[in-house]
Each structure stands twice: as structure tokens, then as C-alpha cells.
């Protein structure tokens, strides 16, 4: 008994001991990130940076993203944020961080030397982290973050499966898509697979078609409350999902599927179409290097307005205002977005760089993604944002349409009701 007690006491004392935090004489900055896939690439970059400049960069990984978000927010409350960190979530959360004074204003640095840093990056890469004049969040206009890559979300098609039903070119219009699906169904091949268990994916798809059917201005006006969600053109958007369900165009289980599962299915030749982002190139390569596929814009429904896809900055980093080494942090971000590093990252992670000059040696599919960057938009650049409850009703409601529980008209009315409630709340405040 006594021996046990002694063991316990010694273990206890050991755990109370100093926690291996040696005082660093070397200058160092800390980076918190959530990208488990890139941890190795980051560590390599950190090594190179230390060799070049003598500044040590400590990358710390906290995954998954929900946990990362909580950690960053908790640290913000206690003023213990690291030198560089990322803000996951919607623009309104980003705005909240900026307004509370946690984020360093990078506008000056970006525009220094006639905008030498700014000109290196894609315009779309900057837009997501920028607050414009007169934005609805009442944030002082400026650029508050830097993205280290760009992505966009498109449709993928399996060349082999399409050829098996005699289709040589991917469908360009919605009608063509429905026709191709009839052929696929006859042969027992599944149509579209996507991670629509993750509501933001549904939101993206619906939003793309909303832009195509009614144009950007009407969509933004709906968010502003000037147009009703019960408008016939919104019903038309919802009706697309009903049509997909009626025609059996969707892979089974799509409403509870996470994106990773959808990626597996497409990579294993079990679905002819996928709706996924440019990161999928790396994923598919790992799962099935022989996959024969290509990227395309979602087949358009209407010719009145262009088909717009979501894209822009991929992962972004911000600098902590309270950091003791803001200049070092900014310099490191500049270095990370410089051409040699961007080429390295792009190769390592099979992703699109945010630096304009770094598009080299990328696989064919990735260049298809890159060429579509001009068609992209992103909720974070619209200047207005929809209330989260409306978004949730919208997305979950589409799931209900797909499983046959709601009609498009019902959903339109429901979303409008929630929208009116939320707008009333805003005026009360």
C-alpha cells in the first residue's frame, strides 16, 4: 500500500514539474493551423525559412476544424492568440474578430512599394479577406488576411463511365445532364455524388444555380430582404433538386454523405459526376491514380446570366495585433506567398497557389480548375451575409426536398417566413 502511495506521489510530482519550455534566445514566431494534410509541407517550409533568415517558425496543428475554431476563440478571449492564426467560419465571424481588435491590418503592407505584394497574388485571393467601403459589417475597410492558396468548386465527370454509355463530351446544359443521366441509369451507373450531408456544399450548389437563373443582383437583394424567397425564380432553384430526385440523378445516400465519402465513391468509379473542390485532385490521386476524369462548370440552366461557381481564397492566415513580433509575422507571410514557396506548396499539396506566377507543372485537371478562376465568386466578397438560421432552414430544407418530405413551394415559403422573423429581430435590436 505504502509503495503504491509513493509511486503515485512521485508520478504526481513529475507531472507538476517544469513543462519543457526552454527560454529561446532565437527569435521565433508561432503559427496555429488546422491543415493536417499540409503539416509536413509546413514543417519543411519552416526549416527553409530558418535557414534563410534565422527566424524560427513554430507550426502547431489543432484539428479538426471545429476544435480549431473553439481554441482560437477561447484564446482570443484570454489574449493568448499566437502570432499567426486562421479564422474559420463566415465573414461575419471574421468581422467580429477584426472589430474586437484581434486582427492586424495588412492594408499598408500589401500596398507598400506600389503594391509589390498585392500584384503577386490573384485578385480573387485577396477579395475574400478584404472588407470594402461601406460593408454591412461596419468594419474599417482594408485587407486583414492573406491566403496561401486558392480553390474553386466545380463539377467533375468520369470520362470512362460516360464513354461506357456513349457520351464523349460532358453535358453543357441542364437538359443534356438530365439526358445523360437517363442513359447512366439504364446501365445502373449512379449519377451525381457530393457531400451534401455537409450543408455548406448544398448551399454552394444551390447558390451557383441561383446566380445562373436570376443573376447576382437579385440574389444579393434577397439577402438584403428586398426580394422574397418565395419568388418563382427561387422556387425554380429548389425545383432543380426535386427534378434530380425524381429522375434518380443523385447517388444513394447523398443527403447524409460527408464529402470524404463522396470522394471515395467518385474515386472508385462508382458515380459518373461529382461536385467537389480543387483539393479533390490530391485526394483522388491518393485513392485511385488511374481515375480518368475532368472538371467542368455545372451545366447551366439558363443563358440569361453566367454560371458562377464558388472560389477564391483557400486557406488564409491572419496576424495577431497583440503579437510581439508583428513585423516578423508579416515578413513570414510575405515569404510564404512568394513564388518559390508557392510552387513548392502547390506541388506538395496538388493545390492551386495564390501567387500568379506559380502555376507550373500542375496536372491537367488542376489547370482546368485554374482556368475557371475568373468565373468565381464567394459569399465573403458579396458585402452582405445571410443570417445563419435562414441558411440552415434553406440547406436542411433542400435535404428534405431530396428525400421527398417537402415540395419546392413549401420550402420557399418556409425560408421566407424564417427570413422575415430574422429581419424583424434585427430592427428590434
Amino acid at each position: 500500500m505504502l509503495s503504491l502511495f509513493i509511486i503515485f506521489l512521485s508520478v504526481f510530482l513529475v507531472s507538476c514539474g517544469p513543462n519543457a519550455q526552454n527560454k529561446e534566445q532565437v527569435k521565433s514566431i508561432k503559427v496555429w493551423h488546422w491543415m493536417s494534410d499540409r503539416e509536413n509541407a509546413f514543417l519543411e517550409l519552416a526549416k527553409r525559412y530558418e535557414k534563410e533568415t534565422g527566424v524560427r517558425v513554430n507550426f502547431e496543428l489543432y484539428a479538426p476544424s471545429d476544435t480549431y475554431t473553439q481554441k482560437v476563440r477561447a484564446a482570443a478571449q484570454t489574449n493568448t492568440l499566437p502570432d499567426i492564426f486562421g479564422i474559420l467560419g463566415e465573414k461575419r465571424d471574421f468581422a467580429s474578430f477584426v472589430k474586437s481588435g484581434y486582427v492586424y491590418d495588412l492594408t499598408e503592407e500589401i500596398n507598400k512599394d506600389q503594391g509589390s505584394w498585392k500584384n503577386k497574388l490573384f485578385a480573387k485571393a485577396l477579395g475574400v479577406n478584404e472588407f470594402e467601403q461601406g460593408n454591412s459589417f461596419e468594419v474599417k475597410p482594408g485587407i486583414y488576411g492573406i491566403s496561401i492558396d486558392v480553390t474553386n468548386i466545380q463539377m467533375l465527370y468520369n470520362k470512362d463511365l460516360l464513354q461506357a454509355v456513349g457520351v464523349d463530351n460532358p453535358p453543357k446544359t441542364w437538359r443534356e445532364l438530365v439526358e445523360v443521366n437517363k442513359k447512366l441509369k439504364a446501365k445502373g451507373i449512379q449519377g451525381l455524388v457530393s457531400g451534401w450531408g455537409e450543408t455548406w456544399m448544398i448551399d454552394c450548389f444551390a447558390s451557383n444555380y441561383a446566380f445562373n437563373i436570376m443573376g447576382k443582383d437579385k440574389v444579393l437583394d434577397t439577402i438584403r430582404g428586398k426580394v422574397s424567397y418565395a419568388d418563382p425564380e427561387w422556387v425554380e432553384v429548389f425545383d432543380l433538386f426535386r427534378e434530380m430526385r425524381d429522375e434518380g440523378m443523385l447517388a444513394s445516400g447523398v443527403v447524409t454523405m460527408v464529402n470524404k465519402t463522396a470522394e471515395q465513391l467518385f474515386a472508385n468509379n462508382r458515380a459518373a459526376f461529382a461536385f467537389n473542390g480543387s483539393w479533390c485532385v490530391n485526394v483522388y490521386k491518393g485513392m485511385n491514380p488511374d481515375l480518368n476524369y475532368g472538371a467542368m462548370l455545372p451545366p447551366k440552366v439558363s443563358d440569361r446570366y453566367p454560371m458562377t461557381i464558388w472560389g477564391g481564397a483557400g486557406s488564409s492566415f491572419m496576424v495577431n495585433t497583440k503579437s510581439k513580433e508583428t513585423q516578423l509575422a508579416v515578413d513570414f507571410l510575405k515569404w510564404m506567398t512568394d513564388t518559390p514557396q508557392q510552387v513548392f506548396l502547390s506541388k506538395e499539396t496538388q493545390g492551386l497557389p495564390s501567387n500568379k506566377d506559380s502555376l507550373r507543372d500542375i496536372p491537367m485537371v488542376l489547370s482546368q480548375f485554374a482556368s475557371a478562376m475568373d468565373n468565381t465568386t464567394h459569399p465573403n466578397v458579396w458585402g452582405v451575409s445571410e443570417s445563419p438560421l435562414v441558411i440552415e432552414t434553406f440547406d436542411k430544407g433542400i435535404q428534405s426536398i431530396i428525400i421527398g418530405e417537402k415540395t419546392p413551394e413549401q420550402l420557399a415559403r418556409e425560408v421566407q417566413k424564417v427570413k422575415e422573423r430574422e429581419m424583424a429581430k434585427k430592427t428590434v435590436n
Binding site: 503515485f8 508520478v11 504526481f12 513529475v14 507531472s15 507538476c16 513543462n19 519543457a20 519550455q21 488546422w34 491543415m35 493536417s36 494534410d37 503539416e39 502547431e60 496543428l61 489543432y62 484539428a63 479538426p64 476544424s65 476544435t67 473553439q70 481554441k71 476563440r73 477561447a74 484564446a75 478571449q77 484570454t78 493568448t80 470524404k260 470522394e263 471515395q264 472508385n268 483539393w279 479533390c280 490530391n282 485526394v283 491518393g286 485513392m287 485511385n288
Partner: protein
């Protein structure tokens, strides 16, 4: 004679039915474990296309890869440290408290007990942020002792409640006898109550070991230094934002599941032993 035969047949049938039930349930329990081990031997490409439980070309190297890539060495030691200290701490603290609630008198006893009980019944999902702020102010953030105290608190209510239930069943006469013999309260606790409640203590050890061993969210929130992190942290490395290395993940999980099974194997003997020392007289 016929009566004897009938009884034997009856007994045989009963036992067979019971055995069949047990076997069916066992298969249901073993299946995922076998699938997990089997998957750790597959490659990333074949993991979802290969439907067999055991692949034709087992990749035993996955275990080594998982250990090194996940940096399991230090994480393993950390997890062991946290589990041992937390469980030990809870057993001592909870049994002392449960003994007091069950056997000793002091004002406010009931109120305190119900408050502790209420803690079990009013969970605080999302109390992470206030907890984080509190621990930062107490300078417990990113320390081992902070995490250990936090985890002790997590398991306290349940353990106290369980132990009190078992202590209540302790016969009063024995205790009075011991007291007359001049045994102190601490002595009664150590020599009588603890041994009698061995099954309950075994349950608590298993329960809390599992909690601490599998805990992840608090560890990620509280710790910033890599060398303080527990095992679950290592597993997260395999679950990227876009890519999950399934076979390595399964291999890592197999490695993390083994010690807990060991703990259970050791502890379940105590649940079986129960009272064999003849302390109870009828």
C-alpha cells in the same frame, strides 16, 4: 431416475440457449474490432474496395508507420501518465467523499451530495470557453496538472455516486464492531470500505481510464506544447481536412485500443472476485 434425466435435459437446453445468445452477441461485438485490425493491414487504395476482413497481402508495416508518423512515443507516455494519475486521484478522492456521504455526519451533507449529483445531471456542453478562461487565469493552461485536475472533475460525480451506492450496502454492525475495537474513521475507510467495494472501484477504474484515454477536445484546448499531448492527438494527424489516411488511422486506433483492453482484462477479475473473504456472515 426419470426426474433426474428430465432435470438434466432441461438444464442442457437452458444452457444451450444461453450459449447461443452469448455467441451471437459476441460475434456482433467482435466484428468491428476485427474489421479495424483488418483495415489497418490494407492500403489506402484498397481499403474501401477490398471487402474482405483480412486482406491477401497484409501490410504489417502500417503499424510501425502509424507509430512513427503519429509521433506516438511521447503521446503514449503522456496518455499513460494522465490515465494513471487521474484514475488514482479519482479513486482516492471519490472514495473518501463517498464514504463521508454514506457513513459520516456533518451539516450540509445532503445539500453537498445533491449538488454533486446535480453536476452529473446538468451537463455543460460548451463550457469549454469559461473553463479555458478560468484555467488561463489560474495559470493552469498548458500544464499537466491543469489537465489532470480537469479530468478528475469530469469523472468525480459519477464515481462518488457509484461508490456511495456500494458503501450504503456495507453492514452497519461490522462498522460498529470495528469502531468499538478502536478503529479510526480513516482506518474503517481503508481497511473495510475499500475492500468491500472492490467491484465498484473496478468499475470506476475502467470507466475513468476509458474517459481519460479517449479524451481529445479538452486536451487540444488546454495543451499547446506537443510534448504534453495525449495519444488521441496523434490519431488526428491521420485525419486531414481533405485526405484521411484510413489504413494508418486504423492501425493507430488498434494501437490505442490495446492498452485499454489490457486495463479491462486486469480489472474485470476484481469485479468477479467480489466478496470471497467471508467478511459477511450470512
Amino acid at each position: 431416475m426419470k426426474e433426474g434425466m428430465k432435470y438434466k435435459i432441461e438444464r442442457f437446453l437452458k444452457d444451450s440457449v444461453i450459449h447461443i445468445l452469448l455467441i451471437i452477441v459476441s460475434i456482433g461485438c467482435l466484428f468491428p474490432l476485427l474489421w479495424m485490425v483488418g483495415s489497418s493491414l490494407k492500403t489506402q487504395q484498397t481499403i474501401f474496395s477490398d471487402m474482405s476482413i483480412f486482406p491477401k497481402n497484409p501490410m504489417w508495416g502500417n503499424f510501425y508507420l502509424a507509430w512513427t508518423k503519429g509521433g506516438f512515443g511521447i503521446y503514449f507516455l503522456n496518455s499513460m501518465l494522465y490515465t494513471v494519475t487521474v484514475v488514482f486521484g479519482i479513486v482516492i478522492i471519490a472514495s473518501l467523499a463517498a464514504f463521508a456521504f454514506s457513513r459520516l455526519k456533518f451539516p450540509g451533507k445532503n445539500i453537498l451530495f445533491y449538488m454533486l449529483l446535480a453536476a452529473m445531471m446538468i451537463p455543460l456542453p460548451g463550457s469549454f470557453v469559461p473553463l479555458y478562461v478560468l484555467m488561463t487565469r489560474l495559470h493552469l493552461i498548458n500544464t499537466r496538472i491543469g489537465y489532470i485536475l480537469c479530468m478528475i472533475n469530469v469523472g468525480l460525480s459519477f464515481s462518488i455516486y457509484l461508490l456511495k451506492t456500494f458503501f450504503d450496502k456495507m453492514p452497519v454492525e461490522l462498522e460498529d464492531a470495528a469502531r468499538i475495537d478502536g478503529c479510526s474513521r480513516l482506518g474503517i475507510w481503508w481497511n473495510m470500505a475499500l475492500p468491500l467495494a472492490k467491484p465498484a472501484i473496478a468499475v470506476i477504474v475502467i470507466f475513468n481510464s476509458l474517459n481519460v484515454w479517449n479524451e481529445y477536445i479538452l486536451a487540444t484546448l488546454i495543451f499547446s506544447s506537443k510534448n504534453l499531448m495525449p495519444l488521441q492527438r496523434g490519431l488526428m494527424i491521420f485525419q486531414g481536412i481533405h485526405i484521411t489516411e484510413y489504413s494508418l488511422l486504423m492501425a493507430g486506433m488498434t494501437i490505442t485500443t490495446l492498452p485499454i483492453i489490457l486495463v479491462y482484462l486486469i480489472m474485470q477479475k476484481h469485479i468477479i472476485k467480489g466478496i470471497t473473504t467471508g467478511v459477511i456472515v450470512g
